[in-house]
Amino acid sequence: MREELFVSGRNLPNIDPHLHAWHWPIPVYLFLGGLAAGLLFFASYYTILGKEKTMPTVVKWAPFIVPIALVVGLMALFYDLTNKLYFWRLYTTLRLESPMSWGAWVLMLVTPLSMVWVATYIKELIPSWDWKFPIIENTIEWFAKYRKVMAWILLPMSIILGIYTGILLSAFNARPLWNNSILGPLFLVSGLSTAAALIIWTSKDHAERLLFSKIDLVLIGIELFIIVHMMMGFMAGPSVQLEAAALLFGGAYTVVFWVFVVILGLLFPAALEIAELMGNKIPVAVPAIMVLMGGLIFRFVMVEAGQITRYLY
């Protein structure tokens, strides 16, 4: 019997022709990471400006969501890993050219720091809170004195974290929908916008809500601008990029992208926020939830559609 052996570089199940590696935990993680980055950015920015008193939600209360979001997001990420026991190897190296390395180290720093941030404010939220051990109590008090320093560290870290959630995807040079340099800023702006929406939703202070309605409107505008330019970039690109963009223009992801991300996740809440700024009474939870849902669905679309696109034929 003659046996013939075919050796082909194309026999890559789950990678070729379509990537089947990333499932729902990835977009959830990217969403929560972006949200946490946005919340930390606003908290540290307004701390540096010295506005703790006038903007309590931004600086004190909304950051309580950050450690939860990061832990849940990292758990989702961990759940999606195939070789769970080897995750620590990310911390045996620091590679400036690898977004995963950047993300791993930034998360290593941001997660505990955000927990400390929250800990310094927990007594204001729950007056009867007791740390039980004096040593913890003293440490937290020591940290509370250096909030501005923490803010200066967190400000650049949060921007890196927000951009990294997009760069993580755009580093895949074999996936044309992801492989563009604008994805990082786009995910950062989207993360900031979802964070602003969450602040609007949770804030009880009228002035704070109005300010963040304006901030969110500007961010939504920038996000739409970047989306349009990303599309223009695809349209001016080679045929693989045209085919990637076609998924959103008449392809399988048209409805979910245009209906749930652009119309109901950006334009409609923006119209409601404008109406609110013009003096109409609007339950702020509605535009806020729509922006948050839009941000989550946007990451699902990008992760799922991106895995379908490819260079090789």
Binding site: G250, G251, T254, V255, V259, I263
Partner: protein, 196 residues
């Protein structure tokens, strides 16, 4: 050239995107015209507010004439439009049931969604009722399917069945509407205004 999507001038995937946009426009216009208020709608049946009949007839004439013009200019092919199939008995009976439902609730399915969207509990209950009604209909369907399919006249238009050319039909209907609007404007002056 039109309709655009059935003729694949625009890819069919866009159909649902346009559905949402059309729905948003529909919702804004209907709500702003007062269709989210059951009491305002029912004014047309009880003679204290004729908004519903005026909006409805204006919309009917506008769309009828508009579609005819679009056809005349060659922008839309009327023969490709969706025509409701006519099953005489079922259509008349169903319409009569809907008329009763209209009187009991003051909503039709479209307006109940408007009311529910701005927080009216009665609108939400109506949607629940419609849900149950459709469920009930589906469950008893085997018993009434003979009636449901009886007297089938096909996907026919007024033109084919009554022999009235569509332009004449539009003209007759427009004249009727103008007369109705005029009569309503006289009645309206003599009726006390009610606010809801």
């Amino acid at each position: 050239m039109g309709p655009l999507i059935p003729n694949e001038i625009i890819s069919p995937e866009w159909n649902h995107v346009f559905a949402v946009l059309i729905g948003i426009a529909f919702g804004i216009v209907m709500e702003s015209s007062g269709f989210s208020s059951s009491r305002k709608i029912m004014g047309s049946f009880y003679g204290y507010d004729f908004t519903m009949i005026r909006v409805f007839m204006t919309a009917a004439i506008t769309s009828l004439i508009g579609v005819l013009y679009m056809d005349y200019f060659g922008w839309i092919d009327r023969t490709e439009l969706f025509v409701v199939p006519t099953y005489l008995g079922a259509t008349i009976t169903g319409g009569a049931l809907m008329g009763l439902g209209f009187l009991a609730a003051g909503f039709c399915p479209g307006t109940s969604f408007l009311a529910a969207a701005i927080g009216k509990v009665d609108g939400m209950v109506f949607i629940g009722g419609a849900f149950l009604g459709i469920l009930f209909f589906g469950e008893i369907f085997p018993l009434i399917s003979d009636f449901y399919y009886a007297n089938y006249l096909g996907h026919i238009t007024v033109e084919e069945s009554l022999g009235i050319a569509p332009d004449w039909f539009a003209l007759i209907f427009a004249v009727i509407a103008v007369v109705v609007f005029y009569v309503l404007s006289i009645i309206r002056k003599s009726v006390e205004k009610v606010k809801y």
